[in-house]
């Protein structure tokens, strides 16, 4: 039922929470934002890609934290006082997951209607555009609206539990 609610709201293209990452402003569907935390100690997980910083304890649940700068292969910046973690709910076929992304700073909440969201241009393979929902212009700024489900659900993160544990 929640999934239906989400799609209804997505269709209207309601509110987006925007954040800054390397001087660019990105937006995520606000209904997917569970909370915003300050950056804290993270337990690294072995044998995982660099951009997965590790996991944290979020009131009893283990939540993986992903650094979007590293994910987008941008220049890394040391974490400062404005560095925050946005905890998001990611919808996959099997169930909903909670994941966190590290961003430079949180910006605003904007209303972006469906028609204001323009499709992203094809960068010709330089940059994968699967996880970009579209581009919007607010106050002469360009906001890149992200599709969280595609961004945080790529093959590296997908739980393909082959043979239920026989691989190990």
């Amino acid at each position: 039922m929640e999934a239906e609610l989400d799609t209804v709201n997505d269709a209207d293209g309601d509110q987006f929470l925007t954040f800054i990452l390397a001087d660019e402003e990105y937006g995520v569907d606000i209904l997917r934002v569970q909370e915003i935390k300050g950056w804290g100690k993270v337990t690294p997980i072995p044998n995982t890609p660099e951009y997965i910083k590790g996991v944290i304890n979020l009131r009893g649940t283990i939540v993986p934290i992903i650094d979007l700068r590293e994910r987008f292969q941008l220049e890394t910046k040391p974490y400062g006082p404005t560095t925050v973690v946005i905890v998001l709910k990611v919808v996959t076929e099997e169930r909903d997951r909670i994941m966190g992304i590290v961003v430079d700073a949180v910006s605003e909440v904007y209303n972006i209607a469906e028609d204001e969201l323009k499709p992203p241009p094809n960068f010709g393979g330089v940059l994968s555009v699967e996880f970009i929902k579209g581009l919007a212009t607010i106050d002469e700024k360009m906001i890149i609206a992200l599709d969280i489900d595609h961004l945080l659900n790529s093959d590296e993160l997908a739980v393909i539990d082959t043979a239920g544990g026989a691989t190990n």
Partner: protein, 685 residues
């Protein structure tokens, strides 16, 4: 106004499966000679509910099938039909079919239509056959009548108040063929005394045509119980009508209490199961759980105490200004109370997930019953300790391994009656399933008094497969362990249930995955005993905290053999890369945790560190760690919920300071490091 019925499906399925289980238990008892009218009644009622429910939800196929079963049971409970072994077996097979049908409807899986059809035909054939085989021609004719049916329909007065209308039913009947109706007005009272809502009429109907009995009965299904209904075939020469033996009066004077158990040999199964209502959710992962009220009450009490302790503590916290020695003491006491309350609450909640193992044991009487007739062996099943409780998840997962072990015992262990008598044993073999608590574990024993292991055969097979060397001699225990090797089987032929050698290693793997162990002891000629040990709960682990670099990891205590200070001289290198440690007489591969987990390079000599000797999957290894921190019970949190499975890590936990610590999967890590060193070896070579 249409109601969305699908929300009720879940409940319907749960109840129906329970009903099927209780039917099965009842039928098994019936087969034992338990000719209790109440028993037959309860079996009938279960079938009736399933029929009604499936009809309501539009699962017509199920409803039709169950209807035939119900008719058969109805005759049995009215005493019109004897309870025969064939009947019981046929009904047992039907229960299986209904289970399959319901599962197919619920899961959308495929269904063996042929089996459904043939079982249904079998039921109908039984319904229509007579004890004295008179008029078999007519018997056949009832299934597919050429001439038609004569129906005597006498509604009870309240019939119309149930919402049924005879006129409507007749209209439907008329669609099946040529319908002649003859109304009987004898009961009709004078107009002044007439109550409009009551039915005083009865009818004799003649339906000519090729309708089947089922079609006719279906029309009258809704008024079942609210009328008297007689359906008899119409003979072309209608003078015979009165002489046509009606099904209802077939079985003459035999009283209800005689049971024609025709084949004593086939069903000599006495079970000593207690008559627990079989509410087993055997095999299926169900989303709900039944909890005894006392457990919930205990929980409520404990939460109450917790609330009291919490308010006491917050009160102390409020008086911050006057925080003196006395307050400090009270704070300490309060915290101790809190610890006790939390621990009790935790135990209490975990007990909610505990179900008695009888839910798993309940499927075995049926299994043993079927297998013993299939194999031609006589087996008596003894169950003890059915009340022993274990965690629901463990219970669900231990079911299949247990089934496999029981099958093995019956197939390979217990001998045929002739063999047994030749050995001087009793004809009937005994299979004993026993469960009890021991320490923090539940122990399940499967014991048979069969032939035991043929150790020569096992050793020969192992040599043949290269599992052991030609000249290796093994102790008896070691030989017994060989059966757990993959692909191992000494069965001469592969029967459809065992002998393929796929089973035992999977069984052991499943049990190990549950955190348990399985052992076997065998006494040749006397019998074999399998002992399974399982932890009482999955979610908690006794762990040893270790520090590696800046990170803390948890190593399961059960995997740790010993820990020691590293002595440089004991370290040897193999092929320039892999390192081993000489521990007494063994060489144990050293796993550098920093390497294995790709943390930053380890600084300093090994001699600064400690070696934790672990065992995983039968292999020993040594983890190099920087420090041993305490031992504690940790709650296992899954990494997979929000992330995914990581090799070498079996989960995570939250330490006292709120940080996350990863729990090491010992077997996995050993495998992982071996792969790594193999690949580096290959690159070197």
């Amino acid at each position: 106004m249409s109601i969305d019925m699908s929300q009720f499906h879940q409940v319907f399925f749960e109840e129906s499966f329970e009903g099927l289980d209780s039917m099965e238990t009842g039928l098994l008892e019936l087969g034992q000679g338990g000719e209790d009218p109440d028993l037959i009644n309860s079996i009938f009622r279960a079938a009736h509910s399933i029929k009604g429910g499936s009809g309501t939800f539009g699962f017509t196929a199920v409803a039709n099938f169950t209807h035939v079963m119900e008719t058969l049971l109805d005759e049995m409970r009215d005493g019109k039909r004897e309870v025969t072994t064939d009947g019981v077996n046929l009904l047992l097979a039907s229960v299986d079919v209904v289970r399959d049908m319901l599962t197919a409807v619920r899961d959308g899986s495929s269904l063996d239509e042929e089996r459904v059809g043939s079982t249904q035909a079998g039921l109908e054939a039984m319904l229509d056959s007579t004890e004295e085989a008179t008029g078999t021609e007519e018997g056949q004719a009832k299934i597919a009548p050429a001439a038609g049916w004569q129906i005597v329909f006498k509604p009870l007065p309240h019939l119309m108040q149930t919402g049924n209308d005879p006129a409507r039913m007749f209209r439907e009947l008329a669609q099946l063929g040529d319908l002649e109706t003859e109304v009987d007005l004898t009961e009709l009272p004078p107009l002044e005394d007439l109550t409009p809502e009551e039915c005083y009429l009865s009818w004799k109907l003649s339906l000519h045509g090729e309708a089947t009995r089922e079609q006719v009965e279906e029309i009258f299904e809704w008024v079942d119980g609210d009328c008297e209904l007689n359906i008899n075939p119409l003979q072309p020469g209608s003078a015979k009508n009165e002489d046509t033996p009606e099904i209802q009066d077939e079985v003459p004077e035999k009283t209800k209490n005689t049971q024609a158990v025709s084949d004593p040999a086939a069903s000599k199964n006495s079970t000593t199961t207690q008559k627990s209502p079989a509410r087993a959710k055997s095999g299926g992962d169900s989303g709900s759980i039944r909890v005894g009220i006392e457990k919930v009450d205990a929980l409520i009490n404990m939460v109450g105490e917790l609330v009291i302790t919490q308010s006491m503590l917050s009160q102390i916290g409020e008086d911050v200004e006057e925080f003196d020695q006395a307050s400090f003491e009270r704070l300490r006491d309060g915290l101790q109370d809190l610890e006790r309350n939390t621990r009790e609450l935790q135990e209490s909640v975990m007990r909610i997930r505990m179900l008695p193992i009888s839910f798993s044991f309940n499927r075995f009487p049926r299994l043993v019953h079927d297998l013993s007739s299939k194999l031609g062996k006589k087996v008596e099943l003894k169950l003890s300790g059915e009340g022993t409780e274990l965690d629901k998840t463990v219970l669900e997962k231990i079911g299949d391994p247990l089934v496999h072990l029981v099958r093995n015992s019956m197939d390979h262990g217990i001998e045929t009656p002739d063999q047994r008598v030749a050995k001087g044993k009793s004809e009937t073999g005994i299979l004993h399933l026993n469960a009890y608590h021991q320490g923090g574990n539940i122990v399940i024993e499967i014991e048979d008094d069969g032939a035991g292991f043929n150790r020569e055969k096992i050793t020969a097979k192992a040599r043949e497969r290269g599992v052991i060397g030609e000249n290796e001699t093994l102790s008896d225990e070691e030989i017994d362990q060989l059966i757990f090797e993959p692909g191992f089987s000494t069965a001469d032929e592969i029967s459809d249930m065992s002998g393929r050698g796929v089973g035992m290693d999977v069984v052991r793997r499943n049990i190990i995955d549950l955190g348990g162990t399985v052992e076997v002891t065998s006494r040749p000629g006397e019998g074999t005993t399998f002992t399974i040990r399982l932890p009482l709960t999955l979610a908690i682990l006794d762990g040893q905290l270790v520090r590696v670099g800046n990170e803390t990891y948890v190593v399961p205590l059960v995997s740790i053999v010993e820990s020691l200070q590293i002595r440089d001289e004991q370290i040897n290198t193999v092929s320039g890369r892999a390192q081993v440690y000489k521990l007494r007489d063994d060489y144990i591969p050293i796993i550098n945790m920093h390497d294995a987990f790709s943390i930053q390079e380890r600084h300093g000599e090994y001699a600064d560190g400690l070696l934790v000797v672990v065992e995983g999957n039968g292999q020993k290894a040594g983890f190099v760690v920087d420090d041993l921190l305490g031992q504690q019970q940790v709650v296992i949190k899954s990494l997979e919920t929000n992330y995914k499975r990581v090799k070498g890590v079996s989960g995570a936990t939250i330490l006292g300071d709120g940080t996350v610590a990863l729990i090491v999967d010992v077997a996995g890590l050993i495998r992982l490091s071996r792969k790594k060193s193999n690949s580096t070896l290959r690159s070197v070579a």
